[in-house]
Homo-oligomer: 108 residues x 4
């Protein structure tokens, strides 16, 4: 991944992902979720009470769910909306992809 060829980077830069304006907010949430997961490890390591640990796990799961819904929202509003605007096979493929991602979220 570190050895991306220049063209790829260029192409990538011409296409803006849906979440581009939410990047900072998303990263902030994820850093907090990362801290929560580390906190859970410390709780287990220090033999804290099971129920308190479970509360932290539920909170972390909810935090990740919020990240997922934000990403999906951005994706629908940008990538999918743009592809649908253009129509054709790409639009259909984008919608199929989005539906599959939603199903994974709902079932996870």
């Amino acid at each position: 991944m570190s050895a991306r060829i220049p063209q790829e980077t260029e192409t990538r830069m011409t296409h803006q992902h849906g979440y581009v304006n939410d990047k900072e907010a998303l990263l902030k949430r994820l850093r907090r979720a990362e801290g929560q997961v580390r906190g859970i490890q410390r709780m287990i390591d220090e033999d804290e009470y099971c129920i308190d640990i479970l509360t932290q796990v539920s909170a972390t799961t909810k935090a990740l769910e919020t990240v997922a819904l934000q990403l999906l929202d951005d994706h629908l509003n940008h990538c999918v909306a743009q592809a649908s605007h253009e129509g054709g096979a790409v639009a259909e493929e984008k919608l199929r992809e989005a539906s599959a991602a939603i199903a994974r979220l709902v079932r996870s």
Copy 2:
């Protein structure tokens, strides 16, 4: 609802909902889910074993989830795709609505 005025029906018929081609499959699934909910009532009524009842409740929830994902898929592929193709404020509103429905599903 049974006293709809003709115009409404007419307007309704000019717009085809996304799920129009899946109607029979959706109704079949829902009739089965209805039977499952009745079955759960009977199990409780006949004092069946809690764990067996819980298994039925999980199965019914999964069946409804499948109905929801099908409806959402149809909605994205028709209503949302069409609105996005046309663009503008309606498209934005449709996407906002779809995102909210997805969030409700993921959190339910």
Copy 3:
């Protein structure tokens, strides 16, 4: 199921399920959920708007979830608590069963 032999019925009546005191409340919730599932069928039949139908599906799923949590709570407080009080292999089996039911709920 309708041809249960008398002994079984007898045994059943000597053992009270955990949900025995919540039976009426549970049945009431389930009758309402059944009505909701029928309502969803009617909405599809009358070509109502996809998003409104999805809202009803989410509400029904939540209602069933509440029934499941009540049943599980009763089960833990009666069957599992009693088996644990007595201890031994039956207690272990009850706990294994309850854990599996919880996993199905969390993942459904």
Copy 4:
């Protein structure tokens, strides 16, 4: 937290949490989940494709769910089973606590 007084440590050591035998497995899973959350941050930082990021978020959520179910299972099999064996108000409190934790998990 690093300056725990001896007595606390002592008390803690006399009570073994349910997850004591699964500690290494739980910590291993959590370290992997932490790595996944960091991976998601890097994906966003490097502008990777939304759907690929969502796939990683779903996988991480599932990993945390597995941790939660293991913790809960251990808790029921040890703390709750032991309290139920002894009976009384403590048993009731443990069961109430466990039910609340299960509800949070199912709804998260």
